[in-house]
Amino acid sequence: MSRFGGSVRAWSHRWLLIVGMAFVAVLAAATPAQADRVINGTFRYLTLSGGGDAFYNYDFNSQSISSTNVDWAVNLVFVGNATVPKVKAVVSSIMPYAGSIKYAFVAGGWDQDRGLKQTQGGSCPGGTSYHFRVYAPSSTDRMYNVNYGYFVVGTAHNDYKEGCSGSYAGDNEQAEAYVRGGFDARGYLVVANAFWLNNVETTYDGGHHWNNNGYATRIWI
């Protein structure tokens, strides 16, 4: 057998094998898989009571409701006789600065707020700067619920060393406690962990220390 002829036969066998395998592979890939149940969400329930206004349990970076667009978990609910300006007025002396604008979807519309914070970013070396934002429809500055009266919601976090080396944002529980303490010290009735808002976060990365326990503080205004 010539070397050339032997090579042709070898290549023929290889090609035969390759084409055969490709054929089998194509058939296997093209055969539809047998699917199990593939849709989640059948019969989800939501129960609403009291005729109250609803809100999302996070605020957002922009006016887009998406789990990938959330900023901070709601961890403060001001009830009783609350409005956004009234709430801010209570602690404006200890949190005199404003932050960046974030958004919340409340009572069917968007609100935006810069919030109040302890220090301005960029004042290095910096340190703890608790920051909270308060939301309600911008046209009315409050919502109503028969259970809790006139209410607004808020998010709180720490802009630690903002604009400086070693900065991060987060510490939600500590920030919530700071705001709660600010109202408590001024005679308002506060209850930690009063509302379960199902927004637990315990993730850490270089720039964020998310640590929300899923419960919000209730503060009577």
Binding site: S2, G5, V8, S12, L16, V19, G20, A22, F23, V26, L27, A29, A30, T31, P32, A35, R37, V38, I39, N40, G41, T42, F43, R44, Y45, L46, T47, L48, S49, G50, G51, G52, D53, A54, F55, I65, G80, N81, T83, P85, K86, A89, F105, V106, A107, G108, G109, P137, S139, T140, D141, R142, M143, Y144, N145, V146, N147, Y148, G149, Y150
Partner: protein, 331 residues
């Protein structure tokens, strides 16, 4: 239905700088049935002069039967009829009404040039944002009192002023027909359920999201709106908003979508009423499989493969025939 609210006492006061108080003590019947007026409580209205600081501007007392409370079968609403004149060049002035210290009415005023912007929020009527061309506003407002705000025995209804950033009330007048209503009509209460049909979706398929809404309160709900906001991988087929008027029992509506991309996508549902644009929502996850066309194309792929194999065999045979004479000569 008998009226369980009984006026038992009268006490009105006014605070403020240079304020005057007008109280008529002759009780007169309320114009509304089951709504006990200030007059029936013995207070024929409250009138103040300028109010420059926070505080109570008026009060009355009423009595409820033993065991009374806010809900679930009997409900109490405050109906406020007032005229205010707002002073100052900015800030916010708030008029409140509270039962036993629990605020059930909050009307907010902001001076705006020669006029005033004012707003209300309530569980019994849509929110209002209005502008008056003058500094004087007369309005009527109603709202369900908060839970735990009323009880059997003597209850106290108070009216107050709160002032921020320079706003004042130059005058407040609470009319004598301001009243406390008793009703078996509850605040709006809705329950919603969703169901996907079919349960398996492939890219290119259309599917239906059925929304079932139940009025679980007492009394018709004027308008219920269900608005769907699907992810980009799902395209609405037809309307994305369902509405039903005067909902008393249960109602169902269908929303249809076409799956455009595989993976998990969500349809967000917003539920609103005429009183509150957003009273809740739900997210329905839809897992979409690759296109069925990917499965139905397999015979084409198989045919191509078979064709390639046949071509290979033909070429191989042809090649052998060409090689054979050359091999003979070499031998």
């Amino acid at each position: 239905m008998g009226n369980p609210v009984a006026a038992v006492a009268l006490l009105a006061l006014a605070t403020g700088l240079g304020g005057s108080v007008h109280v008529a003590r002759a009780p007169t019947p309320s114009a509304q049935p089951d709504c006990v007026s200030l007059r029936e409580m013995g207070v024929d209205g409250v009138t103040t002069g300028q109010v420059a600081g926070d505080g109570e501007v008026g009060r009355a007392e009423f009595q409820l039967p033993t065991g009374a409370g806010q809900g679930p079968k009997r409900w109490y609403l405050v109906h406020l009829h007032a005229r205010v004149t707002v002073g100052g060049s900015g800030g916010t002035a708030i008029l409140t009404a509270a039962a036993n210290g629990k605020t059930g009415a909050q009307i907010q005023f902001r001076p705006a040039g020669s006029g005033v912007d004012w707003s209300t929020v309530s569980a019994s009527e849509p929110p209002r944002q209005e502008r008056s061309s003058t500094r004087t506003v007369e309005f009527r407002f109603a709202n369900f009192l908060p839970l735990d705000s009323v009880h059997g025995g003597t209850n106290r209804l108070t009216f107050g002023a709160e002032l921020f950033d320079g706003a004042t009330f130059d005058g407040i007048q609470l009319f004598g027909d301001t009243c406390l209503e008793t009703t078996d009509r509850s605040p709006e209460m809705l329950r919603a359920e969703t169901q996907l049909r079919p349960e398996t979706v492939h890219v290119g398929d259309s599917f239906t999201l059925r929304v079932r809404v139940r009025n679980v309160g007492s009394g018709a709900i004027g308008r219920v709106t269900v608005t769907a906001r699907p992810d980009a991988g799902l395209t609405p087929v037809g309307q994305t908003t369902l509405t039903v008027d005067n909902l008393t029992g249960e109602w169902s509506g269908d929303l249809r979508f076409t799956a455009r991309a595989d993976g998990e996508h969500k349809v967000r549902l917003d539920l609103g009423t005429a009183i509150s644009r957003y009273v809740g929502g739900d997210e329905v996850a839809v897992r979409v499989l690759p296109s069925r066309h990917g499965g139905t194309n397999w015979p084409i792929f198989a045919g191509v493969a078979i064709g390639a194999y046949v071509l290979f065999l033909v070429l191989r045979i042809t090649h052998r025939r060409r090689r054979r004479p050359r091999s003979s000569r070499d031998a």
